[in-house]
Amino acid sequence: MGIATDHLPGVVEQLPGGSVLVTSFDSVINWARANSLWPLAFGTSCCAIEMLMATGGPRHDLARFGAEVARPSPRQADLLILAGTIVKRMAPRLRLLYEQMAEPRYVIATGACTISGGPFIYNSYSTVRGADEVIPVDVYVPGCPPRPESFFHGLLTLQKLIKTESIRQPGVRHKPVLSELPDGIKVEDIQKEIVALLEGEATVDVNKAAQAKPWPKGT
């Protein structure tokens, strides 16, 4: 046949109506979707300033990941970034914003308040205990507030998650439980190292440590 089946690896599937579809379109579409996330910033408290606005600025630079086109309208956005406490009065409005977004749509919840209610979980008459009581959340970024780097890790996790999608099953994603480890390192190695650290001597003898490593001469 033509270039589409000779050069693109993929499975040719019959569709109703007699046409064919190359499933490696999945990877092309996912690549495009993952690298041009247009965020709608739902910043309601301190996380919005400390994390969201900081990531948009030139020092941390959200544009490196293709997500800098912040949309103030839900109809043009496909990523909803929740940054801040959600209260009962606001929850129906948040739900409305989410439902106005075109599919495929993704949600990142950042910060303790957004994930669980945070410090306002007890004795509060108004705080919603977690954004996932209102809308489905794809990626949680913990912190109070999270560092911009944590947010980027969350964004990259979402990109990985998008790359597991298929146009045959819209909306179905295989959620990664662990980021990919570098070559030659296993989870058991990390666990062993952490156990050794925890079980080792917790306090350091400063004098002993200083004598073991004397000042270099000439200082």
Partner: protein
């Protein structure tokens, strides 16, 4: 510890007492029935000229059984501050509105009504400000409880 030009406040109304201890700015305490007339005099008397009501807050003294109402006044003419305090009983929290003296009091009093359930007599539009209109109860009262709240584990 009233400054000199505020000394004559006590002559404006009966039962005005000056609070001396535990305050960091000139403070007077009045009975709740005299608040409205005292406030009108404080605003319109040229020697005081308290043209601004900066803030109006409430403390719920649940153990003593009363609400403590606090008004923060400021005069841009003379550049002096005054704090006016009064108490009303918790079981009958009614007081005269100040919205005819300072228009901003209308919203401050609506907020207090919303959170504490203090009823302002002659208020033009006493509705809830922040919470939904069908909310039951006044959440900033110390004895407020509802089914949604979680008790902090001891």
């Amino acid at each position: 510890m009233l400054p000199e030009r505020l000394q004559s406040i006590c002559e404006l109304e009966d039962d005005v007492t000056v609070l001396e201890e535990g305050v960091d700015k000139p403070t007077v305490v009045v009975p709740c029935e005299h608040v409205a007339s005292l406030m009108a005099a404080l605003k319109h008397d040229a020697s005081f000229a308290f043209l601004l009501l900066l803030d109006h807050t409430v403390t719920d003294r649940v153990d003593d059984g009363h609400f403590e109402l606090v008004y923060q006044l400021y005069s841009p003419v003379h550049n002096h501050h005054l704090m006016v305090m009064t108490t009303i009983p918790r079981d009958e929290p009614v007081i005269q509105t100040l919205s005819h003296i300072w228009a901003v009091a209308e919203f401050q009093e609506r907020e207090i009504y919303d959170m504490f359930g203090v009823v302002y007599r002659n208020h033009p539009d006493l509705r809830r400000l922040f919470l939904e209109d069908d909310w039951v109860g006044f959440p900033l009262r110390k004895d407020y409880e509802d089914d949604f709240m979680l008790e902090r584990p001891k």
